[in-house]
């Protein structure tokens, strides 16, 4: 048996080490962009025009053409040797987009439209609100499910709540790092990010339940042992499985990160971080928290403080 639980506050500190910078990034991002992560037009409103020129262009030229057409420009991004321009602008309809592309063609030479998106403000509000509801609903349902599934062990609600805390941990790690990437690399959250995040939530809970299941099985068998040791036994027994499963998930994700298409990379990277966090939080947050609660660590800590004072 490995005595993993003994160092529980070290694990919590490690989590904090990752989460706190993420929270700071989210704060900066909120101050700068109004939201904890930079949002793509899936969630905000605006338009996305991607055009390809035959010769390199300058961002300023492209911006000027848009302004001449009476369109506000949020950003112009150039790629592929300055021949592809991605312009984020205000909401426009297809006719207006056709006019601006015609103007680009006239001023800057032959141009080809690669992609056009335009999302109105009311849609984005609905999407953002529903995303939040989805996560809340998932949390409530999972809490209820775990409490029900572990009804035979003492304090089943603790299991549910600790699993949700671990889930929130994974959300914070993922969103925090994404926020940091938004500040440093300009990453924007789109619907793909949302599905990655939801995957992370599902995996996090799945992983936690597997370890809990072992505690549930061991509790009646190891009746004489203190809870901390029961948990240590359970963790040790499931450690192989946790690592093997995580490793397999990593194989697939690393393969896609190395060889996969560009559009899916950001998505996989978010999942990669999230799944790693999911395994970590199951073993080193959800389970130790049960012990913290069982041993009444926090009341004892305060009692000791008071005793010293």
């Amino acid at each position: 048996m490995l005595r993993l639980i003994r160092r529980r506050y070290l694990y919590f500190a490690l989590s904090a080490l990752i989460i706190v910078p993420g929270l700071v990034a989210m704060g900066i991002s909120t101050a700068r962009y109004g939201t904890p992560v930079r949002l793509s037009i899936d969630f905000t409103s605006g338009s996305y025009v991607e055009v390809e020129f035959e010769r390199p262009v300058q961002a300023g030229e492209v911006r000027r053409v848009f302004l001449e057409q009476g369109l506000e420009v949020a950003s112009v991004q150039l790629s592929a040797g300055d021949r592809i321009a991605i312009v984020r602008s205000q909401v426009m309809d297809a006719a207006r987009k056709d006019r601006v592309i015609a103007a680009l063609g006239k001023e800057l030479g032959p141009v080809r439209e690669r992609r056009f998106d335009s999302v109105g403000p009311s849609i984005s509000r609905v999407v953002t609100r529903n995303a939040l509801y989805a996560v809340l609903a998932a949390a409530v349902v999972i809490l209820g499910f775990i409490t029900f599934a572990f009804r035979k062990v003492p304090h089943p609600f603790r299991y549910g709540l600790c699993a949700i805390i671990a889930m929130v941990h994974d959300i914070l790690v993922t969103v925090g790092l994404f926020s940091l990437a938004g500040l440093l690399l300009g990453w924007e959250a789109d619907t793909l990010f949302l599905s990655a995040l939801l995957t992370v939530i599902g995996f996090s809970v799945q992983d936690t339940i597997v370890v809990y299941d072992r505690i549930r099985e061991n509790t009646p068998r190891m009746r004489g042992l203190p809870f901390e040791q029961v948990v240590d036994h359970s963790l040790t027994q499931t450690l192989h499985r946790s690592l093997a499963t995580q490793l397999n998930a990593m194989f697939i994700m690393v393969a896609i990160l190395l060889f996969g298409g560009a559009t899916i990379k950001q998505f996989i990277l978010v999942m990669f971080v999230g799944l790693a966090s999911g395994t970590y939080s199951s073993l080193f947050n959800a389970v130790p928290l049960l012990v913290v609660w069982e041993n009444r660590d926090i009341p004892r800590f305060f009692a000791r403080l008071r005793g010293r004072a």
Binding site: D42, E50, D93, A94, R114, R115, F116, D117, S118, V119, G120, I123, V126, V127, N130, A131, Y133, A134, A137, A138, V141, I142, F145, A149, T191, L192, L194, S195, L198, T199, I201, G202, V205, Q206, I209, V210, D213, R216, E217, Q237, T238, H240, R241, A244, T245, L247, N248, F251, I252, M253, A255, I256, F259, G260, G261, A262, T263, I264, F267, M271
Partner: protein, 477 residues
């Protein structure tokens, strides 16, 4: 091997055979889709129409979503107050729009209702916004046109006076303009139906005019006996019959070489329901380039296969013989899941593929749970047979509980995905959901059946070589 195991074995082989056939031959299959029952006082024709709608022959080709294939997403919003924009009208509008865009996509396009007054239309493989919008705004506009004695060939596109003012008509030069005598608005919609000619059995579309239409039609046919009258649908000639005698009872029919039963049905439906019950306005219109998808798809598929092979190698090295069995089960899993996608059908999107990969990971996880348990039991001194069984029994609760929680999450995602503005999240939830269910079958039933079969046939050999084959020393009997 018990009787039950043999049944499972045959079931597995049957399913593998079926899915191989589905995946390789991609046969077209007749499906019955739910269609609202016709009203009680429905005519035989209406009942036949409902049945024809319900039975649809469909290809089982894999469907690729917008992000993989590229295409367009259009969001339509209904105008008007609550008296017009009600769930019933929106559903009718959804059906009509779906009927209109399906021929463009080649199968049933995704047309979803979003909120109270929106429709989201996804058109993979369609890149021409004009084409898409024109198809959606088509009304099934019928005209009876005076050709001035000319017989117009079927399928010819013509310009008519309908909707043009006298000045506009005068301004057009170079194109012939034909005079519209009557339009679909003069028809009595209750009298429109697909039928067949009582004597020749030729399929026809039977029409009946309203009072005003009957009067105009009688006057015109009286004045133009032995002259042609073109029947024009959406400015395209569908037939050009000669008026044999004045028609005063307000009845007419459309027939022609190009009109078979199905076409007659289509025209009748178009004329009857052609006009949308609500006015729809385009509020959002996105085009996704195909290059964005195609490159990603090809590379990600290869990457996925590489990742999967790594998993198979790892499982085999780490768990030995059971690992090989798990690898076989994983291949069966892949076969089954793709067969299921073709059958349901599931439209594959990038997040959908990710959901698929995650479910593969979970299938492997179930096997890992079982094998770890098996090793534990064998190390504890259990015999090979009881060790195998205990591995499955003990791992079951954790597999069941964890997978059930994932299924619940899928259900929530699916419910919210409908209103998330895209089928993207929904696609992810669907692939993960079916993935989890199939993974439980492959990782538990398939693996267990094969392991029992192995134990039954080469059990003693497994025991003797247990260090190599299982990674654990097993006590021999």
């Amino acid at each position: 091997m018990q009787r039950r195991d043999w049944i499972y074995l045959w079931l597995i082989l049957l399913l593998v055979g079926l899915s191989l056939w589905l995946n390789l031959a991609q046969p077209a299959i007749a499906f019955w889709r739910p269609v609202p029952a016709p009203p009680e006082n429905a005519t035989p024709d209406q009942i036949a129409e409902a049945q024809a709608r319900a039975r649809a022959i469909r290809s089982t080709a894999l469907r690729l979503g917008l992000d993989l294939q590229g295409g367009m997403q259009v969001i339509l919003e209904a105008r008007g107050d609550a008296s017009v924009v009600n769930p019933q009208n929106m559903e009718t509008a959804r059906n009509i729009i779906s009927d209109r865009v399906n021929p463009m996509v080649g199968y049933e396009a995704v047309v979803q209702r979003q909120g109270e007054r929106r429709l989201v239309v996804e058109l993979p493989g369609v890149f021409d916004p004009q084409e898409a919008l024109a198809a959606m705004q088509r009304t099934g506009f019928l005209e009876f046109v005076d050709t001035n004695g000319e017989i117009l060939p079927e399928g010819m596109r013509i310009t008519t006076t309908h909707g043009l003012s006298a000045e506009q008509v005068a301004a057009i030069t170079g194109t012939r303009i034909y005079r519209t005598v009557l339009t679909g608005a003069d028809l009595d919609s209750r009298e429109i139906r697909a039928d067949s000619d009582p004597t020749t059995q030729e399929p026809i579309v039977a029409l009946g005019f309203n009072a005003e239409g009957t009067r105009i039609f009688a006057e015109w046919t009286s004045a133009h006996v032995n002259q042609p009258l073109a029947i024009v649908l959406d400015k395209k000639v569908i037939s050009c019959p000669i008026v044999q005698e004045p028609i005063t009872n307000g009845k007419a029919s459309i027939r022609g070489e190009g009109i078979d039963r199905r076409e007659a049905q289509r025209i009748a439906t178009l004329l009857r329901y052609g006009a949308l019950p609500v006015e729809l306005e385009v509020v959002e219109n996105r085009t996704v380039g195909p290059t964005l998808g195609q490159d990603s798809v090809n590379r990600s598929v290869i990457a996925g296969i590489i990742g999967l092979c790594t998993v198979l190698v790892f499982m085999t090295l780490y768990y030995r013989l059971p690992g090989v069995v798990a690898s076989v089960a994983l291949c069966i899993y892949t076969l089954l899941i793709f067969a299921l996608y073709r059958l349901i059908p599931v439209t594959l999107t990038l997040p959908g593929i990710a959901g698929l990969l995650l479910s593969i990971g979970m299938a492997v996880d179930a096997n890992i749970l079982i094998f770890e348990r098996m090793k534990e039991e064998l190390r504890a001194g259990k015999s090979l047979r009881t060790g195998i069984e205990a591995g499955f029994d003990r791992a079951w609760t954790s597999i069941w509980d964890s997978n059930l929680s994932t299924l619940l999450t899928c259900a929530i995602l699916y419910a919210f995905g409908s209103s998330l503005g895209a089928s993207i999240v929904k696609g992810f939830a669907i692939t993960l959901f079916f993935g989890v269910i199939v993974s439980m079958f492959s990782a538990i039933t398939v693996t267990r059946t094969f392991l029992r079969l192995l134990y039954h046939t080469v059990g003693s050999w497994m025991e003797r070589g247990s260090r190599l084959l299982l990674g654990v020393a097993v006590e021999t009997r």
